[in-house]
Symmetry: C2
Subunit: 265 residues, 2 copies
């Protein structure tokens, strides 16, 4: 077995056959999660005017769980610079990689940039030419990666799958750090054009026409309901035209454990 291979049921059988009850593996990084935004309530809270519940924290936890990762949640940042800095320092000391959600859009009221500057973090990149997720910001401090994901659920989700996932996989030495890709035909037109590459939550199925895919729903950045229905990300290269029904597109597959409803040979 090659280094960087994941241990799955087949490799477990192979190891058992040859008497390897224990093998050396890569350490799984411990990931910290911090949600920012003074508009955020906890999941159990009643809604009040101008507030929304924190869905990105639980979503990122579930994205990490799906990868088999360990994480430590540091809740939501308080509205006080000193206590915020203390929490970020604590998170950095206890984890191998830090994910923050929110506070990266222009005009956000947020302490993170100030704290990172105080601590001496270096911004590696931000303002990515993609939709959603353009505000994804990745920094580094003492060799630790800090992923600043958007506060918008779809952008946060996409930022995780496209940037955080492969980084974590690489930290474990994975030979296959990216989401699996296949090709599909759109079974619904996407008429609007976009000068940026788009990653749209989609639903793929396999039938008599092969693999077809359609957008999972209302595709605004903040449409959390489309994430719930999707089982893939449809990749739409930039251009001056939209996409017709039947157009060939690439899909990034999410969680094959979801299965399909019918069995056909």
């Amino acid at each position: 077995m090659e280094a960087g291979t994941k241990i799955h049921p087949g490799t477990t059988a192979l190891l058992a056959t040859f008497g390897y009850a224990k093998v050396k593996v890569s350490k799984r990084p411990i990931v910290g999660i911090l949600s920012t935004g003074t508009e955020l309530l906890d999941v159990g809270d009643e809604l009040t005017p101008g507030k929304i519940r924190n869905s990105n924290g639980p979503m990122v936890e579930a994205q990490l769980k799906r990868m088999g990762m360990m994480y430590q949640s540091y809740g939501m940042l308080e509205d006080n610079l000193e206590s915020c800095q203390h929490m970020v320092e604590k998170a950095l000391a206890e984890t191998d990689l830090l994910i923050t959600t929110g506070g990266v859009s222009v005009g956000d009221y947020d302490y993170l940039p100030v704290i990172y500057e105080r601590l001496g973090a270096t911004v590696l990149f931000n303002k990515i030419a993609m939709r959603p997720g353009s505000v994804t910001t990745v920094s580094v401090l003492n060799g630790k990666l800090l992923f600043g994901l958007s506060g918008n659920p779809s952008a946060c989700f996409t930022g995780f799958e496209l940037y955080v996932r492969p980084a974590i996989e690489k930290m474990m030495g994975s030979l296959a750090p990216y989401l699996p890709q296949i090709e599909a035909e759109l079974d619904e037109a996407i008429p609007d054009a976009n000068p940026f590459i788009r990653f749209m939550r989609g639903l793929w199925t396999f039938g008599a026409d092969g693999v077809t895919a359609r957008p999972a729903g209302f595709n605004k950045t903040n449409a959390v309901s489309s994430i719930a229905r999707g089982n893939c990300i449809i990749v739409l290269p930039p251009g001056e035209h939209g996409y017709e029904r039947g157009a060939k597109v690439k899909l990034l597959l999410l969680g094959s454990e979801q299965g399909v409803s019918t069995w056909n040979i």
Copy 2:
């Protein structure tokens, strides 16, 4: 959200947004695993003449883990009818579904058929027209399903994914109990014909030619090494001829969490 939907990161976000910190879910069945075969050693044991290590027990545990299932392993059956029957009764009392591996081929020295007859289990089906896994036997006792999987690793693996997996998913009310399917072109000929449908461990990749697949290796039923390399099951309908390179075949996808090594748009 429809009943029978799996809770994944996207649905977690949706539930959090609308304030559902707790939701009612289906009970996960507890699965029992029993390995049979007087030739079996534990993984940590030294090999001795005529013996092999038990790889099916750990493999089935890993297949259940990949599905997020809870299981109870009852080790390997002893060479004594009364203690075997006691162990089977204990397993049946403590679990919702029982998987046994081995002891279903003609000529196997095994107490399971005797015990099942004593307990009054009804055989639902066996001797399936497929390769591998033809000896898969499914019985029922007091409403509990008993899956008798082959002692051959590949047949055991295939029997689990094709029969046990959808049964467990259905017990939880899943709307999508089967493995996802896609179509691929063979990038290697499979010259031998077979009058039975075959399920061959394969490796699929996506490149300039779309999705292509090839057998994972030496494809004898007992070739545990091919399971370790595969990321899909290639479905080969029965016929009087083999398959040429470029032939279209269907794939059942295993564990998309394995990812791919390159990112291409």
